[in-house]
Structures are given as C-alpha cells and as structure tokens.
C-alpha cells in the first residue's frame, strides 16, 4: 500500500503568490516533499505560474492572478502535492574544496573550544558528512545544506558580522552552508571555498541546484590560491562526482 502523505497548507502570500507549507519547522522529510512538488510542477506546468521558489519547508509559488485565481491554483497544487513522491533518483553529487581554519576560517579555534575538542576534529567531522542543498537564498548562490551532524550544532554568534568573505563555509544552529558573495553573517566561519556558486558570464551562472548532494574536501591554502584564480577565470573547481 502506498504511503499516504498529509496535504500541505496553502497560505496566501500577497496577491500573486501562494506558500505551499509542508512543515512548521526545518525538517528533511518536508524539504524532500518541497523539492518533489517543485519537480512535478516543472514536469506538469500549471498555466499562470510565473516562478517557484523551494525553501526548507515550503514551496513559494508565484502566479499571475489575471491568468488563474487563488482557489483554482490551490486545488491544482494540492493535487500535484498528493502525487509528488520524494525520490533520490537523478541527484547530482558535487565535491567542494574547502580550506579550513587560519585566515580562511577565523572561528574554527573558537568553535573547537566551545565544543571542547580540537580544530582537527571539527574539520574531520565537517568533511565526513553527506550534505544536500535544501534551498538557495538570502544572497545569490547562498546554498543552505541539510545534513550537519548533531555534534556540530551550536547557537549563532552573539555579535553577527556585517561583512564576511566570499566563499565562506560556516555553521549556525543546525545548519551549514556555502556562501558565495561577501556579506553579513552571524554564523561561525570554518573555512573558505574557491568555488563560485554564482558567477556572471559563466555557463551556468548558478552552479548548484536545490536537491544537489554535496561533500567537502579539505585542501591547503596553496591549493585554495590556485583554484581561486582558476575559478575567477570561470572554472567550476567543484568536482562533479556523479552526474
């Protein structure tokens, strides 16, 4: 007998968007349903939808209210959600190089102290896990990953920084992520990657997709410098492990 899934909540979001909410909290199963619904809508489009935006626990569906009314769209979304079964098939896997600690990850020592262990163990644990891009948001290419192991969960910084470097790899709460552009952050900075998840004049401009699998590989500062130059010139630097 097939698994029955509880229907999502439909929340009006302004006059031209619906939030299709699968959970009230960050939840891996809910995120998989979000991505599954996104795939089904992509495969079986609904006239009037202008854009979909996957997030941790809901899919934001933008629509043109002149083309389709809220109720009619809501009905179709619920029908698609009912048959949108989460699946892992076709997942791309990327290996992303990271230089941990030192000037590249200025919070690594403090994180190790707080968690009463060594910087080496923090790095070993962060590299060992299997991650998945749950959503991309905040700034272009900022990829929020699910899969951070419980040991590395810790509260955000008391004093958020107004500027953190491009390519920062950080942890905050139950989350970890790949930041592309320099910007503000309250997370703990573990390292930096030369990978540009967003780069104009490169094909593709956005490297990662929601749902992509991610593993990190520790590299030294010299490798970072070399790969940073290559990435600036348009190389992916990230390695596509499985297509």
């Amino acid at each position: 007998m097939p698994e029955t899934l509880s229907p999502p909540r439909l929340l009006p979001s302004g006059d031209a968007a619906i939030t299709v909410e699968f959970s009230r909290t960050i939840d891996d199963a809910a995120n998989r349903r979000v991505l599954a619904l996104d795939r089904v809508i992509s495969a079986e489009p609904i006239a009037g939808i202008t854009e979909t935006v996957p997030t941790y626990r809901s899919l934001l569906v933008h629509y043109d209210p002149v083309q389709i009314a809220f109720d009619a769209l809501g009905k179709q979304l619920l029908a698609r959600a009912a048959k949108a079964l989460p699946t892992a098939t076709g997942t791309r896997r990327w290996r992303i190089p990271v230089t941990y600690g030192g000037e590249h990850g200025i919070d690594l020592e403090d994180v190790a102290k707080t968690l009463r262990t060594t910087p080496d163990e923090i790095v070993a644990r962060h590299v060992a896990a299997d991650y998945r891009v749950a959503m991309i948001g905040f700034t272009p290419g900022w990829s929020y990953l699910s899969g951070l192991e419980t040991f590395l969960h810790m509260p955000r910084r008391q004093d958020p920084r107004l500027l953190t470097p491009a390519g920062t790899i950080s942890i905050g709460g139950i989350q970890t992520g790949v930041q592309c552009l320099a910007g503000p952050s309250g997370w703990h900075l573990l390292g930096r990657t030369p990978v540009r998840t967003y780069q104009l004049h490169r094909d593709p401009i956005f490297l990662l997709e929601p749902g992509d699998a991610i593993t990190f590989a520790a590299v030294d500062a010299k490798t970072f410098a070399e790969q940073d130059r290559a990435a600036e010139a348009g190389a992916f630097v990230a390695e596509l492990v499985t297509p």
């Binding site: 909540r9 009006p12 109720d71 619920l78 948001g137 272009p140």
Partner: protein, 206 residues
C-alpha cells in the same frame, strides 16, 4: 544619439525596470522599480513599454542635462518641484529638454520615489532580461550601482516626435491604475483587484 548626463543626484537613485523574476530559487531577488505603477505611468507618457528601464530617483533632488540632441521625458511618482532651464513643469506629464538644457528636480513630496522615463528607453545590456540595478549581485546596466554625478544615460531613439501631454490624476494608486487601464488596453484592473481580497490564514487541509 542623445543622452542624459547626471549633473547631481541623491542616494537611492538608480536605473530600474520591471525587474528580473525567475531566479529567486537561486537567491537572486527580482529587483525592479519600488513603485511599478509610477514606472508604468512615466513610460506611458513617452510611449515606451510599461516596464521599460527608467531612472528611479530617491527622496533627494537630482539634475540631468541633455547632450547630443533633444530628449523627451516623462515624470511620474512622488511629486517634486521640477523645471527645465527655469521653466516649471508638472509631474505626471511629459516634456522635452533641448540639447544642453538641464532638468532640475527637488525633494520628493508625499512619497519617496519618482520615475524619469526617456522616450525610446535607456540603452543598456540586459542581464536576466533586465537593466535593473542590484549592486550586491553585480547586476545593472549601464551602471551596476546607484547613479552618481557624471554618469551618462544613452537614449535608444532621438526625440523629434510632436509634443504630447497626457495628464494623469495625481491621486490614489487605484485612480492611477484606472487611468493606466484607459491608456493601455492590455492592463486589466478588475480581475487583479478581485485577488486583493483573499481570506487571511490557511486555506485547505492542515
């Protein structure tokens, strides 16, 4: 080709258009005009597409000078004192700057953002189909940043059309929308307005 040269301009002023929806799943905000109706009104006044790129002017004043020929402009949005070489001009109307003349705009009254559309539109290289400035993402054309003194905005077509003035009621957004609907048959107001009144809270099962 005629152009507008920025003589002086305040903060929060940049080239904006209908924006670049479609990449929010990658964290790229759509950008675009703060006040879409006012952008559409300014463009309508000079015969452009409703959401063509125009100059979005923040709360403070600005001055722009026509070079290389005449430039016909449309002004809409937050009203300001405005003159061309000393000749007072009204908001929600179009006017023409002769070559060398300067448009002076004062502080915004009763709003923050005003729109200066130029006949033919602003020349630029679209990224994701838009000229709108998003400085953090390095996007926007002809300048991927807010405007500053010395910047030059090329117009896509030299002016020369007969002067044409359309008076828009300087009233509420709904009055503006109605006026636009009359001007542009493609704009349908009623079905859109009916969507404004959805029930608050969740709909469907939870």
């Amino acid at each position: 080709m005629s152009k507008l040269v920025v003589t002086s301009i305040g903060p929060a002023s940049s080239v904006q258009d209908g924006g670049r929806p479609g990449s929010q799943r990658y964290g790229l905000v759509p950008s675009g005009a703060m006040d879409r109706l006012a952008l559409a009104a300014a463009n309508t006044l000079v015969g452009n597409d409703l959401f063509a790129a125009a100059v979005e002017i923040g709360p403070f004043g600005a001055a722009l000078t026509a070079r290389g020929g005449a430039v016909r402009i449309g002004l809409a949005g937050a009203a300001r004192n405005a003159d061309i070489a000393g000749r007072a001009i009204a908001f929600d109307s179009s006017a023409t700057l002769a070559d060398g003349e300067t448009l002076n705009l004062g502080f915004a009254r009763g709003g923050s953002f005003s729109y200066l559309a130029v006949e033919g539109g602003i020349v630029g290289e679209p990224m994701f189909g838009s000229l709108a400035v998003n400085a953090r993402a390095g996007l926007g054309s002809p300048y991927p940043r807010p405007l500053q003194a010395g910047d030059e905005l090329q117009t896509a077509k030299a002016s020369g059309a007969a002067e044409q003035r359309i008076e828009l009621p300087p009233a509420s957004a709904l009055a503006m929308a109605s006026a636009l609907a009359l001007i542009c048959a493609s704009v349908t107001v009623v079905p859109y307005a009916s969507q404004l009144f959805q029930p608050i809270g969740g709909v469907g099962a939870s």
